[in-house]
Amino acid sequence: MRVFRGNSSHRLTDTTRGLRDTFVDLGGWFFFFSIIYIILLFKVVTYDSISSHVFFGIYSLLITSYILSRFLFAYLHKPIPIDLTYEPSVTFVVPAKDEEDNIEETIRRFATVEYPREKIEVIVINDGSSDRTLERMHRVAHEIEGAVRRVEVVNFPINRGKRYGMAEGAKRAEHEIVIFIDSDSFIEPSAVRHLVKYFSDPSVGAASGHTDVWNRDTNLLTQMQAIRYYIAFKVYKAAESIFGAVTCCPGCCSAYRRKYVMEFVDEWLHQKFLGVECTYGDDRSLTNFMIRKYRAVYSPMAKAHTVVPDKFRKYMRQQQRWKKSWIRETFIAATFMWKKNLIAATSFYSYVFLAFISPIVFFRAVVWYPAVYDSWPVVYLTGLFLMLLLHGLYYRIHVGPRAWLLAIGNFWFNTVILMWQLPWAVLTLRDTRWGTR
């Protein structure tokens, strides 16, 4: 927060700073649209190869229009203003396992939210932790007792899984809106108002907050994840949100209408896929149940921060988990998404197509073609690089310089690697071994 001194010369500096920022912003946007311009030139120039290989040509055009459409929709997305007359009661539900380092801060934040005391309750679930999580829970619960209506600490002596924790919290909740927070996520004081404001519309069943990376500056991996999180929310979720068809309200910070959740909580809890009970992808699954009948939105101003893996192996395992849940839930969503708004449905099915075809296209361009024709896949790699540059530039314009260029390079590398987790995930879909962290 800037401290304003009532000094005229200081105001002048602010103006010049403002001008400079505008100049830099304009420069950033100029660069951004120059990239789009170059991408368009590329598409025209490679028209021959597009028209000669219809399948891959369609892929090429589709992926470009899909990504550009995401930026377009995100630009057109409009959040609604806070309605001070609409103040539903909220319950914070925090399932936790072995989170002694972060759990206190997570829960402590609930005491600082800008919302009437009596309308807040907190339910934390200790899911068979082997460390001092339970102890810390009790301690912090005692600490915030006075700031909220009630705090309940639930203990599972033996680990039952996040879903059970979330379900238990939802069932025990006495208030209207259930807000799920991860045990390593920290919300901003204004987040609650920004989450609940959407529920004045009875068609809304879930709202996702905007989560940034807490440990952004730890290393290149976390910086790269910071960009991905930012883009995933600000561009992709915003685009989905226009039609109320957000496919995943993440467990780190999302709000659900309790009444609607109760309609399918048990079905969700005991969800089975390919004969095996589902342990991972709880948030995506819950959202999927919700959007069958109701709408799920994204609230860009409901801010929270979460801790992301800073070690490569942990990161890869997380990504692999997410891929598996994505496959499962996308398969399920594909059965009813066509009923929704035409644009939302088209976007969804396009994305599914693109996600599965990308590894094939990549393989063809980078492995097969060079092997057979002895030519570098310059066009493909440049196109890929331009797309990633576009995302990175977007981040740079909105957030500012933070080694974004290096992160792009890393982003590229990881995209190329992570792409392969999808086919692998398909193959290992029934394997629940990596279900836990």
Partner: protein, 527 residues
Amino acid sequence: MYLDLSIRKIGILTFIFFVLLWGVFLTFDVKDRRYGSTPPFASVGLAFQEVSLRAWYALESGMWRTSQTASAAFAFLAGWPTESHSSRNARAIPTLTYHRIVGSQNDLNNVTVANFKDQMLTLKRSGWESITLKEYREFIAGERDLPEKSFLITFDDGAKESFYPVDPLFEVLGYEGVLYVIASAMYTLESTYYLSPVEIQRLLDTGRWEIGSHSYDGHQPYPTDREGNGGIFFADKLWREKEARLETDEEFTVRVREDLVHARSTLETAYDRSVDTFAFPLGNETGIEGASNFSEGAAITEDQAERVYSLGFLQTTPHRYSFNYPAESSFIAYRIHVDHDWDGKRLLQEMENGIPKDLPFEDDFSTDRGWLPAWGELDLGKNNLSLTADGDASSASVFLDGSKLWQSYSFNAAMNWQSGSVFLLADVVNSKTYHSCAFSDGIVRLQSTVDGETKILGEKRDSSISHGNDIRIGIRVRGSVIECLWDYRSILEAYERPRTGGIGIQVWNPELGTAALTVSDILVQPF
């Protein structure tokens, strides 16, 4: 729906959409208008090259000019004498031939960018200025004077690499060039090798370039027999597939004529200007060395070319003076081929050696002053001129480039003469036409050789004429008198002198491969 369709946002999106659309269309329009059918990626590369080269040369020339001004100012202040370039008029003009200017040496025909730049800068610094075709023609016709160090620069084939690496340099140096275009090649679609018509038009619009004809389609090999073995379009009879036989003389003539005419009309129509000069493809006299089945072919081509064009370029050979002289003006003019391994200094030497030389002239062979090796082996190392016959020949011959305009002089040479006969040449018109004093053991002959046919004008026996380590011989010409000198004494005279020209030296020995001579120095004085 949570959609913001405010006027502002829609307005901005529409604006950006149209700007992008306009940008994309404009880009391709510019590409077509500047680079014709060149493929897009190549066009980007060329655009890049153009912009960066012009910027770079502008910078370099700015720096050079600044340092020139600075050093000139300094010299002026210090009272040093300033270097003044020759203010004499040219009496002969050289023409240079290039093909492509390439980034890295890939074959022996093309000059690298580095060498080319070195060559042009060296010439410029020594005061050489390029001329246009028009200026050249007027000079040859005697209608215009040109400064002494004037030269014509030509590029054959009409390739992209003849223009893009070259023009930015020409712009900065104030040089001009002539591009010899293969008329059919310029229509090659999506070529990254040849210039497209749009680019050639742009080249002409710079005002620094002219074009000439390099045939319509006479630059590639065509079959000269049933098996399809390739021959030279302008010198060999081609195989007629349908009739399963070689062409007749008539068919050859017609084919050649049609190509010459077609090339001229195509170029004149495409660029709306007169195109009346021709560079013979594979221009060692239309590839006479490669001609396999029709010895008269090259001559017919030359004849036909003369009917279609007013000037034809061939490559010069060591049998001729390398520059072009007004007095001998004919349809054919000669060009110096710039070799791939010549740096600036070497090219400068070649060109300065060809400038008509002044008398008196002295040569101790410490540097090569322009001795043309007509045949045999010439070695100018060790401060001597060494002449040796090839293994299968009985003689070797050299003559001095730039001596063509000498009229009245006394040419004396000191040499080591151990065997065979030694000839001092005077009035050399070319390697096959000259007068000579032929010294053999005990006898001297005055001879006139025309196109290789020798006539004896006089003969004298003198026992003092004998082999030795350090003999002095001479030949003296003035008016219609030719004299042979031994030890500075005139020992033979003739009063028939139908031609004038420069000097040369020959050695002869009946035993093949043995003729050899070493000359230590020469002196030519006006007489």
